[in-house]
């Protein structure tokens, strides 16, 4: 980290070596940022640096991180109970970037959390970790324990007067917990349904106290921004946005995986250069660029730069930046059905359109895929895509996210839908076999 890396997030990750311990981490440039921040920067200066770095939330929504912090009341941590929460509830289908960071270099997250906590003056840190990430849980606990032992966590860190500690909350599996307000509700030991805003978490979050929820990848960027400066970070991006991004590809590509690349790397480059293109015998038909809740884009949009603005212009969202590939031998309706099954099941059950609309969609797709679809079913799918897709109609963004692949799929795969209904069967046969 001393020499500013082009892939700062993952430079220290070496699967063969396992996650670095405190000493290794420090030798590789770790703790510099924390030392600098706690030693000579004010919270306001950190917020300013992060704001200028153009860092945007890596969880999918893409909200400016510095901006988010600015809403937090400014009292010192010692005077007001505040929380800094790492959102490690990575449950977006097709997404496996945070696990890489958590398992690969948990101390980087710890340092990022110290910086964020110092910036917003929160004394309480929580990692909200999805329950299935058991290896990450073990490594995180080890890292936190070590950091605590070395004085990086606890009372009066580095004699700065700032105290901060981290507690790991292992969740028990609910996609909606990734939504920041539902995450807070879950931490309170309640049924994790989202909350209305206001109050925003920054002013009234966990147990009513000011709380900041940042994605793991977002937090992991912080040490590098503080050490190397916001301009360096902003310069890493290829377009509007700053920094690197972990991109990934799954599906029938030659080498599925995840890579840290400059934000704004063109999609085609990610698929062809890093994922090795399609497996032989398979053609790329369409893809979800950033997880299950992003809209399909087809091959005509492959040259899109993978940053927040560009992907949106192409009709989808950057989301988590983890693409899922639909090949030509997989039934697109089967794929959408799989997605909608997921969204219907993971609906928290709070608001009517999501709770009762998504299962209807799932059953329509079941029928079409199973060969019992009717012409009117298309109207119903259209209606749901319309009614559930627009923001503000459902309580949170779950249903609009669910409608992204459906609405785009209805357009992109219109002929497939018609064929299914007319032939009374799936032309691809059920599902897809190896």
């Amino acid at each position: 980290m001393t020499a500013a890396s082009e892939r700062p997030l993952t430079a220290m990750i070496d699967p063969a070596m396992g996650p670095p311990d405190c000493a290794t981490y420090e030798r590789a440039g770790g703790w510099q940022a924390a030392r600098l921040a706690l030693g000579s920067l004010t919270p306001a200066e950190i917020i300013d640096r992060v704001t200028r770095s153009k860092l945007r939330g890596r969880g999918g929504a893409g909200f400016g991180t510095g901006q988010k912090w600015n809403f937090v009341p400014k009292e010192p941590a010692s005077e007001r109970r505040k929380y800094l929460i790492a959102n490690a509830d990575e449950m977006e289908p097709g997404t496996f970037k945070d696990r890489w960071l958590l398992e690969g270099n948990p101390l980087q997250l710890v340092e990022g959390m110290i910086l964020a906590a110092y910036a917003v003056q929160a004394a309480h840190g929580i990692v909200f970790l999805r329950g299935e990430y058991q290896e990450a849980c073990v490594r995180l606990h080890r890292a936190i324990g070590e950091a605590r032992q070395q004085g990086w966590l606890g009372e009066n860190i580095l004699g700065s007067g700032f105290s901060f500690d981290i507690h790991v909350h292992s969740s028990a599996g609910r996609y909606i917990c990734g939504e920041e307000t539902a995450l807070l509700t879950a931490l309170e030991g309640r049924r994790a349904t989202p909350r209305s805003k206001p109050p925003f978490p920054q002013t009234g979050g966990l147990w009513g106290a000011p709380s900041v929820v940042n994605n793991v990848e977002t937090l992991c960027n912080l040490p590098h921004i503080i050490v190397n400066g916001p301009e360096w970070f902003a310069g890493l991006g290829l377009g509007e946005d700053g920094g690197t991004k972990i991109y990934g590809v799954s599906g029938r590509v030659a080498k599925p995986g995840a890579w840290e690349l400059p934000i704004g790397t063109p999609l085609r480059q990610i698929i062809e250069d890093h994922a090795g293109g399609m497996r032989s015998g398979y053609q790329l038909r369409a893809l979800l660029p950033g997880g299950a809740s992003t809209a399909f884009i087809d091959t005509t949009a492959l040259d899109v730069a993978m940053d927040y603005g560009s992907v949106e212009k192409a009709g989808s969202r950057l989301g988590t930046g983890m693409a899922i590939i639909l090949d030509d031998r997989t039934c697109p309706i089967g794929m959408i059905r799989n997605l909608e099954h997921f969204f219907a099941q993971e609906s928290c059950g709070w608001c009517t359109p999501c709770r009762d609309g998504l299962p209807w969609v799932e059953r329509l797709l079941d029928a079409i895929e199973d060969g019992t679809g009717q012409d009117e079913d298309m109207e119903q799918l259209d209606r749901h895509a319309r009614m559930l897709g627009a923001p503000g109609r459902t309580f949170c963004a779950h249903a609009p996210g669910a409608m992204a692949p459906l609405a785009s799929g209805l357009k992109l795969f219109a002929a497939d839908f018609t064929a299914h209904i007319q032939q009374g069967r799936c032309p691809h046969h059920a599902g897809a076999g190896p």
Partner: protein
């Protein structure tokens, strides 16, 4: 106030409400489910979607949930917007995906909010062609039926039950479209307000179980505005009847008292009216046997008795003012007893005196909800005045409202306010002998003997106003507690001190009023509230009369020849020995009651009186509010109202012997009230509790059935197919049928059911208010007889504090201080004749301080003999005290008293 534009038309509206309220108040038909005026907004159902435009130029607008959007200056919205309409139709369609089409057999049918809203959105064809999810239903106990398949998951039930009423045994389970609302396992809902689920649920998931057994459609029932008779709070109710039988009790909105909520005792206590214990004919002792006799026979018998010697009348605090007064008119003031022991009577009269003298406020239940510091002194209000307890429960939210105000979050934004308030301290302080259900939401609770609590109270009053007498010999702990509580109360803008006569302690009530008066010197809003035991305790206290002790003395002296006891089971007041004395010394006991109480077996004559649902009358609640109840049932002769019975008895006597000459001539309730006003000027306004029997709207009586009522002829077709004229009463302005006037702005005291075009469920109530949650359009129901305003001039007349401070409670050897364990279900007289309440009441136990019981069952020696009771450890109960269920062990049980307690012979030592 501000103005908003709804579909092109400007409406003045309040600025602190949401758009849904604003639309409803403007008279618009905007459907909704999860929002409730008392529960606020959470945005779950998404039914109230409307279009909001950013300005006059904005043609596109955006869909918003009206309930989640605050009214803003000059907001432009559209309900009719096609996109909004489409979305609302979709929302209903989603709700109906799993909803069964069982309206014809559903007990909610005809008064179902979901039906209304479905019709309102125009959804009428099922397009969902797949399988519906199904759920298993639970047995939730004797009050509430459960049919989960009907659930539309609006979350109102759990929000009401948990957030509002403080219950914890109803929850939402599972997730997505499989969410389930019920209990973890089958079993009786424990919260005292569970019955409100019936009205809170917008469809038929939770329905009234006792009503189910005698079910009939809403539109076929006659309604009558009524007043609950099961405690002294005076909640307003609607009684429903068909075929001249009472079917159910519903909440009737009174903005000052119960508003949207009744307790379960009030909702399900009415079963005594139709119980087998009901008296339906006169009974007379012939040859040692009590046998039914014709009315004429009974009257002759009475006339005979009355000529033989002195007639003394015993009234009752559960009888209407008119009944008590007519008895007073029959026997004369000198021979009129309140039917209460001296202790009860003194307490009730003291309550009246203290309230009248109080220089501060006498808050209504609704005003109590906004008290910012509450101190309860020695009264388990959750048992003695449950609805008042619920208002105190709401008061603990005040701090969270202030936090929300600071965060610019509207108070109706319910979930948000609860989030913000999750760390706000409670403002409720409870000093009682035994734990209460409110303890869990209190900032501080402290348990001590009643006298010790009174001493703390007097000390607090002295701390606030040094001119109040001091209390000596307080322990340092108590002194600190006193200082802390005084500080808290003085810092409040709207403090409230509550006590009552549960422990029969004058000192407790005096200490309470001393604190309230001390606070009122600097805080005029300082409120005082005193809980009384029965529905007309205050009315009777204002009339006054002999105590039962005096009657006993006269009886023992052989001065009483005939005793007329009206609606009073003396066995609840007098020890068995006293009752035996009375029976032995008084030749004739005439009981006029509706229910075969234990006293009836001693009566030489029993006359069947109309129950509250069968007659009209006035009750004065504990805050001094006179309220009228009306009949929904026209009972078959000889059952008639109490005052009519007494009038009938009087007609058999020599008119010259009657102390009030008009008695015989009274033709209607209004005439009784006019005479009452002359005899008791303090009670004169009671006549204005509701419009008189001659009140008309546009020359018409008020109808008490919906215009859809059916079967008028068919019901009695087995007798005759001829149409019978509907029954009528000169006492009320109601027609007993569907004929007559009915409008949302008719007088508040005369609303007999809620229904307006398109709104057939209880939600139609919104149309009866100008401002939702505010007063009724037609004005208040009832009238206050006590006016604290007269005491405001505190400079002129300094408050006289009582100096009668009791000494500390000192335990005595070999005895325990027995205190009443007043129970929500079990202690109140009439509700215990109601089958569902009987089922809900649990067996008597003996409460002892935790870890002091030496065996599982112990023997308590009371005046009427030993009682063996299972022991229930009560954490926090003061040492050397015992809790004994009131009226459930010894029927007449006066508190406090010392009693001997010993191990039950034959029981092994506790291991």
């Amino acid at each position: 106030m501000t103005t908003i534009r709804i579909d092109g038309r400007d409406w003045p509206t309040r600025s602190d409400i949401n758009l849904l309220q604003a639309c409803l108040e403007a008279g618009a038909n905007l459907p909704y489910f999860c929002w409730h005026p008392e529960l606020g907004s959470v945005g779950a159902c998404r039914q109230c979607a409307i279009k909001q435009f950013s300005g006059p130029e904005d043609r596109k607008g955006r869909i918003v949930m009206a309930c989640m959007t605050p009214v803003s200056e000059n907001a432009i919205i559209s309900i009719d917007d096609p996109e909004a309409r489409d979305f609302r139709a979709s929302v209903i369609e989603w709700m109906m995906v799993n909803h069964p089409y069982d309206c014809p057999v559903c007990e909610e049918g005809g008064e179902c909010h979901l039906q209304d809203m479905t019709v309102m959105t125009g959804h009428n064809t099922r397009r969902y062609r797949f399988t519906k999810r199904t759920h298993r239903n639970q047995d939730l106990g004797p009050f509430v039926k459960h049919e989960m398949n009907r659930c539309i998951a609006c979350y109102r039930c759990v929000r009401f039950y948990r957030d509002y009423a403080g219950g914890d045994d109803l929850a939402a389970f599972a997730s997505h479209d499989n969410v389930y609302f019920g209990r973890a396992e089958d079993g009786t809902l424990q919260n005292a307000f569970s019955g409100n689920l019936v009205e809170i649920c917008p469809t038929g998931v939770f329905t009234d179980k006792p009503f189910s057994a005698v079910y009939t459609r809403k539109w076929d029932m006659r309604g009558a505005p009524s007043v609950c008779v099961h405690c002294a709070v005076g909640c307003n109710t609607i009684v429903n009847a068909r075929e001249e039988t009472l079917r159910r009790v519903l909440n009737r909105y009174n903005t000052d008292i119960n508003r949207y909520v009744l307790c379960d005792r009030g909702r399900f206590g009415h079963g005594f009216v139709n119980a087998p214990t009901r008296i339906r004919t006169p009974l007379r002792i012939i040859d040692g046997q009590q046998v039914p006799v014709p009315t004429a026979d009974a009257l002759t018998a009475f006339a005979h008795m009355a000529t033989k010697g002195r007639v003394v009348g015993i009234a009752s605090s559960r009888a209407a003012l008119e009944t008590c007064f007519s008895l007073w008119a029959l026997v004369g003031a000198k021979h009129f007893s309140t039917g209460q022991t001296r202790q009860e009577q003194e307490c009730a009269e003291l309550a009246h005196a203290l309230l009248t003298r109080h220089p501060g406020a006498l808050p209504t239940l609704h005003e109590m909800e906004s008290a910012d510091a509450v101190l309860v002194l020695g009264e388990d209000v959750c048992a003695t005045a449950p609805r008042l307890g619920l208002s105190l429960h709401q008061s603990v939210r005040q701090a969270s409202f202030h936090t929300a105000d600071n965060a610019k979050v509207p108070r109706w934004m319910d979930a948000a306010v609860r989030t913000l308030g999750s760390e706000c301290p409670s403002t409720l302080h409870i000093l009682t002998p035994a734990p209460t259900d409110l303890d869990s939401v209190a900032a501080e609770t402290f348990h001590a003997a009643p006298d010790d609590i009174a001493r703390l109270g007097f000390a607090i009053a002295h701390e606030i106003d040094p001119s109040a007498p001091p209390v000596t010999d307080l322990t340092p702990d108590d002194a600190a507690r006193v200082a802390r509580l005084a500080q808290t109360l003085m810092a409040a803008r709207k403090p409230l001190i509550v006590s009552g006569m549960q422990y029969g302690s004058r000192a407790l009530m005096q200490a309470t009023s001393s604190i309230a008066a001390a606070l009122a010197r600097t805080t005029p809003a300082a409120g005082l509230s005193l809980v009384l035991p029965e529905c007309n305790s205050m009315g009777l206290a204002m009339m006054g009369g002999l105590s039962l002790e005096t009657v006993m003395e006269q009886a023992r002296a052989g001065e009483i020849f005939t005793l007329i006891v009206v609606e009073n089971d003396l066995t609840r007041h007098l020890d068995p020995a006293d009752v035996a004395d009375l029976v032995a010394t008084v030749p004739n006991i005439v009981v006029i009651d509706h229910t075969m109480t234990p006293l009836c077996q001693h009566a030489s004559l029993v006359l069947p009186i109309a129950a509250f649902s069968e007659c009209n009358g006035t009750l004065v609640n504990q805050e001094g509010r006179a309220q009228r109840f009306f009949q929904a049932v026209f009972p078959p002769a000889p059952i008639q109202a109490g005052w009519r019975w007494i009038q009938t008895l009087a007609r058999g006597l020599d008119p010259s012997t009657l102390p009030v000459t008009g008695l015989i001539g009274w033709g209607s309730l209004d005439a009784v009230l006019a005479a009452l006003a002359t005899a008791f000027p303090g009670l004169a306004p009671a006549a204005m509790a509701a419009p008189g029997g001659d009140y008309r709207i546009n020359g018409e009586k008020l109808r008490s059935q919906t215009y859809r009522a059916s079967g008028r002829t068919v019901i009695r077709s087995f007798v005759s197919v001829r149409d019978q004229p509907p029954p009528a009463s000169p006492d009320t302005p109601f027609s007993s049928s569907m004929e007559g006037a009915y409008e949302p702005d008719m007088p508040g005291a005369l609303v007999s059911f809620y229904q307006t075009p398109a709104w057939n469920s209880v939600q139609a109530l919104n149309r009866f208010q100008f401002e939702i949650g505010g007063p009724l359009r037609g004005g208040p129901s009832g009238i206050c007889l006590l006016s604290p305003a007269e005491n405001k001039n505190t400079q002129a007349r300094p408050y006289t504090y009582t100096t009668d401070i009791p000494p500390p409670y000192v335990p005595q050897a070999n005895v325990v201080l027995v205190l009443p364990d007043t129970r929500l279900f079990g202690s109140e007289e009439l509700s215990m004749f109601s089958p569902p309440i009987m089922e809900r009441s649990s067996a008597p136990t003996l409460g002892l301080p935790a870890n002091t019981a030496t065996s599982d069952r112990m023997m308590l020696h009371l005046e009427d003999g030993p009682h063996v009771l299972p022991v229930k450890p009560v954490p926090g109960l003061p040492a050397d005290t015992a809790l004994c269920p009131a009226h459930m062990v010894a029927r007449a049980f006066r508190f406090p008293r010392m009693a001997r307690l010993e191990d039950f012979p034959g029981e092994g030592e506790r291991t």
